[in-house]
Assembly symmetry: C2
Homo-oligomer: 227 residues x 2
Amino acid sequence: MAKDMSLLWFSGSPPCLRVMIALEEKNLQGYEQKLLSYEKGEHRTQEVRDVNPRCQLPVLTHGDNIINESYAVCLYLEAQFKSQGTQLIPDGPAQQALMYQRMFEGVTLTEKIADVIYYQLKIPEGERHDSAVKRHREALTTELKLWEGYLEKMGAGSYLAGKNFSLADVVIFPCFACCFRFGLSAKNYPKLADYYGLLKERPSVEASWTTNWQTSPPWGKDKLKDL
Amino acid sequence: MAKDMSLLWFSGSPPCLRVMIALEEKNLQGYEQKLLSYEKGEHRTQEVRDVNPRCQLPVLTHGDNIINESYAVCLYLEAQFKSQGTQLIPDGPAQQALMYQRMFEGVTLTEKIADVIYYQLKIPEGERHDSAVKRHREALTTELKLWEGYLEKMGAGSYLAGKNFSLADVVIFPCFACCFRFGLSAKNYPKLADYYGLLKERPSVEASWTTNWQTSPPWGKDKLKDL
């Protein structure tokens, strides 16, 4: 049981999914949850601003500690509950090197996905260019091919940083889940699709697989189809 | 002495500065160094591509382990050399929560700085808009005011996550160093300026303070002057 813990979250948000998976992996069920609607702007209230001046989710509160960056939450939970649930940081320098490396490549991956999927949301109408859309799509294709190669090299059934599930999977899986939600082709990225299938059956992911992850938004269901 | 360790780096790059400070703090001097020139495109060689397919620096090699993400290097070094040099992750849940929180807010800070300073480099000529420049400058101003507020709240002489220097300082100080290099006004951001002054005198920073940090590039010396 997760005492003194509460989470403000959106459904369908990769950073929020990260935190929910981490909480499940650390056996921290039963925390207080508050689901907010992005569409209704429920994150733009004083209540949220008080815990995150940037008005972004997730926000995890644990006792008096407030953490609103998903990577920070994951590292914090692993540090506080090291011997509880899944061990999320492997032993051994080589395994740790690979895990931290992949974890932080995830920042670039996240940016490149957002550049494509949220282009209309991020860039005002008068500043949009077809050439920019094309460039972002090419950059994301290059990025995804890189990850496809990483998984190919690791071998079937492997996780991102080795034979065991780790923090690298906690933070990266939601990125790929987002790509498939927005129409990425399993045929074009077979290793990513296998990895996605493997992780989707994991209890921590199943427990966090909320409505928005089960459907694609009509405006975006084919967004990444041709990558 | 840092055995079996080598670093590929640029002078004046915040991510490279992070890694050099972390190495100094962990008493890992004497590693093999290779300084590359960004201007001459020395990072676009097969040698670099072999250790970083994205052709970005820094790249740290430690034995057989290759890490090319600055945050990953910092966490890796602290994990491998925990009891050597400065303790970079504090004890205690509250201190750790704040440290991880600030560390990962640094990703947003880094992005917003790059959006302003490297706008011409990132955006092709035909896609540039004065309205975008204005928006990025406003976003960076808001972001810097937030950090100014954090430092004000911490009190004079404090580090970013408490009374002790931590990984939050290792990763964030280079961002502020970059801002002042590009003309940020100490008058407009007195707490940031005090913090910058405090950290600049730290031996690990002094040892890493290479030529490009001592001067501003002619094209950018007033870039942030009016923020």
